[in-house]
């Protein structure tokens, strides 16, 4: 049975698509057949992050409208086995998605895939609601700053009341917190909320902490999920995150400021 995971946040620009691409790639690297769906109709981005923008022929809305079948539309990732992308439509708007249409596509994908990752658009309007409605689990991407935390809180409320699981009285959606753009130095200076602060406010389980990193921007610009950059701190943090998502116990890294050099330690400073 495929697991449907929504990557959501409420706020824009916190790293939903970057995280979807990285986690989807990570799951596929671990041998699970994974598809990432771009729900951001009209603001298609996932294809750029995944570096497959030139191979988009049909899109999600075409499939829903019956203008193309899934086989024609799914883009197979060239770097990673078991990984597919279902791109969003760039020319339509978010109302092009219907609940029945999305359900039909998800049911069809569920036959073939282990994981279905839904990359949600920002906001709390129909597009975001559609992305989270059918989810079994949710990864709530949050930056360590107050507005992002509040928007995440709002989305958590939606997950608990507006999803299929909530409406049908099934077990609640399993909620995971993914803290991105974390900068321990700025936390120490008091310019950023700490992991503990965010955990305390949102009171959900922590899935991962991704450090603020140049590698993320480089990866986005080159169309390569940052998780494939295994040298980088962000890449390693995403790999840890995927392992935790699969139920492994992995200690958290990159939470503290890197140790000072030997000289600095001796002379203080």
């Amino acid at each position: 049975m495929a697991k449907i995971i929504v990557v959501t946040s409420g706020k824009g620009g916190v790293g939903k698509t970057t995280s979807s691409a990285a986690i989807g790639t990570g799951l596929a690297l671990k041998g699970h057949k994974t598809v990432i769906i771009d729900f951001d109709i009209g603001l298609r981005n996932l294809d750029l992050i995944m570096g497959c923008e030139r191979r988009v022929v049909y899109d999600f809305v075409n499939v829903i409208n019956g203008e193309a079948n899934l086989k024609q539309t799914l883009i197979k990732d060239k770097r990673t086995d078991n990984l597919f992308i279902l791109p969003a439509s760039q020319t339509r708007d978010k109302d092009a998605l219907s609940k029945a249409g999305v359900e039909k596509v998800l049911n069809e994908l569920a036959k073939d895939f282990d994981f279905i990752l839904c990359d949600s658009p920002a906001g709390i309007e129909s597009g975001a609601m559609m992305a989270l409605y059918f989810a079994d689990e949710a990864i709530v991407v949050t930056n360590p700053e107050v507005s992002s935390v509040r928007d995440s809180d709002r989305i958590l409320g939606m997950l608990a009341s507006k999803s299929r699981r909530a409406e049908q009285g099934l077990d609640a959606i399993k909620e995971h917190l993914l803290l991105t753009r974390y900068n321990p130095e700025r936390v120490e200076k008091g310019e950023m909320l700490s992991v503990e602060d965010v955990k305390e406010i949102l009171s959900i389980d922590l899935l991962g902490v991704i450090p603020e990193s140049q590698a993320v921007l480089n990866a986005s610009n080159s169309g390569q999920p940052v998780i494939l950059d295994s040298e980088s701190d962000a890449g390693q943090a995403y790999l840890d995150t995927v392992e935790r998502l699969l139920g492994e116990k992995v200690p958290f890294r990159f939470l503290t400021v890197e140790k000072k050099g030997l000289l600095k330690r001796i002379f203080g400073g």
Binding site: I124, R150, D151, D153, L156, G157, M158, E200, I201, S203
Partner: protein, 243 residues
């Protein structure tokens, strides 16, 4: 093997029992319309049992059912019926219910007063007595998230989790929050000045009792981040640390 998908279990439900000396459709329509006009929302689609113990003529059950549907009430069954009435009620698709012993006496006396409603719950109170019995507080087990709004009508509200920034909890009674209060808490919403707000950790956007409110600006001080009780004294909110 036992069938896990099907389960039949006995349960008790509070149902309103309607007693009326004249069970003709016209008399019921007049009486009920008047009653419903007082509190239309309260009785909306309310399940109702018809007491036929004191009726003099044979009621037209099908027509009464139709009337109830028109008035947005749900007629679920009859009580106090003899063998003959029982049969007729069952033919009209109504359940024949047994009235509890104490309630029988209560309905006997109240049956004389036409249109009186008596509530047939576990403790078998009629509506006049129920005022002395405490109403159940509304208890919320989870965290109240930003953008959510809770209202405990006519009673206390107890939240086990945290009330997030941008969330609102409102009660006509007292409010108890066993997590952090970051959102708005409005107690005594119906105007009761004796109600209070208790919270484990005060970081509220707004607290209000019977319309007297403070914003977080005024709250940030001695009691910020502490376990606090908030009450109203001489039109002024007064904060005190708990414990």
């Amino acid at each position: 093997m036992s069938d896990q998908t099907l389960e039949l279990k006995g349960s008790l439900f509070p149902l309103s029992v309607l007693s009326c000396a004249d069970l003709s459709v016209n008399a019921l329509r007049a009486g009920l319309s008047q009653k419903l006009a007082q509190a239309p929302a309260f009785f909306y689609q309310a399940p109702i049992v018809l007491n036929v113990a004191d009726c003099r003529q044979t009621p037209d059950f099908a027509a009464i059912k139709q009337l109830f549907a028109e008035l947005n009430l749900v007629l679920v069954g009859v009580c106090g019926a003899g063998t003959e009435l029982k049969q007729q009620a069952q033919q009209a698709g109504l359940a024949a219910l047994q009235l509890g012993k104490d309630n029988k006496a209560a309905t006997k006396t109240s049956a004389a007063a036409s249109n009186s409603n008596s509530v047939n719950n576990n403790s078998l109170n009629n509506s006049a007595e129920s005022a002395t019995v405490a109403m159940d507080a509304k208890i919320v087990e989870q965290t109240v998230r930003s953008g959510q709004q809770l209202y405990a009508k006519g009673t206390d509200l107890i939240v086990r989790g945290t009330v997030g920034a941008g969330a609102e909890v409102i009660a006509d009674g007292n409010i108890h929050i066993y997590g952090t209060l970051r959102g708005k808490a409005i107690a005594g919403a119906a105007g009761d000045r004796s109600k209070r707000i208790f919270c484990y950790n005060l970081q509220a956007e707004l607290v209000s009792i019977a319309g007297n409110y403070w914003l977080s600006e005024s709250l940030q001080g001695e009691f910020w981040g502490k376990s606090t009780c908030i009450k109203l004294q001489d039109d002024q909110l007064v904060l005190a640390e708990l414990g």
